[in-house]
């Protein structure tokens, strides 16, 4: 069994060193990591072939195998990702605020690394590189625990990154992979409160729920997305159609894809047949409540469970409501606090929706697909936080930091 305590101690030591490195040396190391990936393409693909062969042997379905697959192009993409992280501003050392107190103390609140970050994730081996790069940029050591399907790829990828750290004269324990993929080790990792400052799970909604339930280490919950688009009575219906199709179809498997459409009754008769046709033309199964079915009989009846379900697939469910207030109430009840959008040309309706919807990101007249670190301009992301503590929405390097108060005095005591 893997010695997690030892890994934890090594991680803490590396994190301490990393916290003192400075931007230049971190960026040099990121460049070395990026180059090392490309130079080791053959070795990485060889290891990946083993994973692919095992996956086929175990009857894993085609879509999953595609997620597992590494090609020279995909390795190049991971390498480019590290270069982009290198180009990001360094969040460490930034002073958020500062002031002098009545007792004459000078206080500054400065950004510092979180320390040791645990990443626990499912199949895709690119998470190994993406997470390692972003955690490193923010001065954190990372302990990675990927899925067993990608274990051979993950071992070679992490070894490649560690060699690059060694070549950069940096403690390679800044990036550690748990190569024991047993459930016992995963459970132990989730309880390693003494060494891991925060645990970030990446994967399916089911996987994340499992981690949230079992972990003792503080967690940042990511990814569950039951996103709604509300078409108001004063919507520009052309915009609405374009946005719904984009939000559902452009990439249905991701968390910021739309899963539900809420229609104001005043536009339902006119808009629903068009919407239905467009969704059908894009191979989307359309479910709906009885009011929707009354307008378009081909609609599949939605069950009560539908309203809380994230399909991640070519399926959408449509509900018709009497008012904006009903739409807000329904969305706040069933959403996963991820991303919600209103389509309207009405100023007051937009303002009310933006104020009253409880979610990480609330849109007016735009596709929910923009909830993404790249699209937000953060450069890269470690995930989309759907919790309210610490970080909410797309998490970039800045969200992988905490703060420290530095207080300078000249002998002050408290009276």
């Amino acid at each position: 069994m893997t010695n997690l305590e030892k890994m934890g101690q090594n991680g803490q030591r590396a994190a301490f060193e990393l916290g003192q490195l400075g931007t230049q040396r971190k960026n040099n190391a990121l460049l070395n990591m990026a180059n090392a990936l490309v130079m080791n393409t053959d070795k990485i693909i060889e290891a990946n072939k083993e994973d692919i062969a095992n996956a086929k042997k175990n009857g894993i379905k085609e879509a999953m195998i595609d997620r597992l697959l590494l090609t020279p192009d995909r390795i190049n993409d991971m390498s480019d990702g590290l270069r982009q992280v290198m180009d990001l501003p360094d969040p460490i050392g930034k002073v958020d605020r500062g002031w002098e107190t009545v007792s004459g103390l000078d206080i500054t609140q400065e950004r510092v690394p979180l320390g040791v970050i645990g990443m626990i994730y499912e199949a895709r081996p690119n998470v190994t590189v993406d997470a390692a790069g972003l955690c490193f940029k923010a001065g954190n050591a990372v302990i990675l625990r990927g899925g067993k399907e990608a274990i051979n790829s993950n071992i070679v990828l992490s070894e490649t990154l560690r060699s690059a750290l060694k070549d950069s004269n940096i403690n390679p324990d800044a990036i550690q992979l748990i190569d024991d993929v047993s459930h016992e080790t995963a459970q132990k990792m989730m309880e390693l409160t003494e060494y891991i400052d925060v645990l970030i799970p990446r994967g399916s909604g089911k996987f994340i729920k499992m981690v949230v339930n079992k972990a003792k280490v503080p967690i940042i919950e990511t990814g569950a997305g039951n996103c709604h688009i509300y078409v108001d009575k004063d919507a520009d219906l052309e915009k609405a159609l374009k946005i719904i199709i984009n939000a559902k179809v452009q990439r249905p498997s991701v968390c910021n894809a739309a899963e539900k459409v809420i229609l104001h009754k005043d536009v339902a008769n006119k808009f629903l047949p068009k919407l239905f046709a467009a969704l059908q033309a894009n191979n989307v199964e359309v479910r709906g409540d009885t009011l929707a079915k009354a307008i378009v009989p081909e609609i599949v009846p939605a069950t009560p469970e539908d309203w809380g379900t994230e399909y991640d697939d070519y399926i959408i469910a449509i509900k018709i409501v009497d008012s904006l207030d009903d739409a807000i109430k329904h969305i706040n009840k069933y959403n996963t606090k991820h991303s919600e959008s209103i389509i309207t040309e009405n100023y007051s309706a937009s303002r009310k929706f933006m104020k009253q919807i409880d979610a990480a990101v609330v849109y007016s007249n735009a596709s929910t697909r923009f909830t993404d670190g790249q699209q937000f301009g953060f450069g890269a992301e470690i995930g989309i936080s759907t919790q309210k503590l610490h970080a909410r929405g797309p998490m970039g390097a800045n969200e992988l930091t905490t703060t420290k108060y530095l207080v300078q005095g000249d002998g002050q005591i408290r009276h």
Copy 2:
């Protein structure tokens, strides 16, 4: 058994309404609450007398009974506390940042309430009022669960606040008290993830550890403070003496009191006898390592456990080190990430200590006793966070908020 789900639902409904109230109405309600406390002084003291009588009957020790005791003066203090919270700036609606993306979306990141906050705490009934006021100011509903020793006081205090909310035409479920003090109900509260957004425990280190271990709701850990003062070889020894005595003696029972002194060997011979005498004169038991005992034989030998122990009492332990690096290593190993101070006139030593110590607050030449919401200028605090997620150090109204991204477009879809 208390119907916690029902309380959770009522809390969520109240939180939604509270989030839309605006500063003026919240401040009016806070004023009404402050007045109601004073007007109900007799009733509050009557209920408190029951708690005091029970405590005496149960043989609870004098210091604890003093914490439980409410007097007209103390009720006035609580009332003044609410008035101070009223005068604080409202954190809700503040825009932290905003920008336009390449796709022409306007993004603002705005401060919004956390939602429903759970407070679980031990004896002192003033926490009921302090916590309710600060949570309310930040637009949050609060569910309070105080210790059984203060239950009669807590019931009357919370009812008084709820009446004031009703009189202010505000949903009284913004402040709810769990009046069932059984362990089962506490455990159920700690698992109420569907309704409580964050749980804040207040009390002894042991109590907080218990909550951290048992809770499923995300927690903000507060309060454990094994604080160090390091006296550098280049310290101004007069400042050092004054600061150590202040940090240890001014109020030994609190988390920002100093528990350890780390002495550089070059000043130990000269400084330790003076320090020992001053500590003795203040009735402080002085423990120390063998090097310290060699200089002052009256020092009690410290055991290995001493270095990690928070005394909260008139006890201090002294360790002598060879270098600044050794001091930093020792502190980072044993501290609770609360508050640490270096006493030095040496610029580089100060800079290194401030950069390398891992704690919520790091001081140069000042008493650790300043780690406090009032002293920092936050007006009031809900506790001192010793964790790295979400908030670190003194937590005021601002730390009881989260953010929401508001994104405005005119039909943008993702390509």
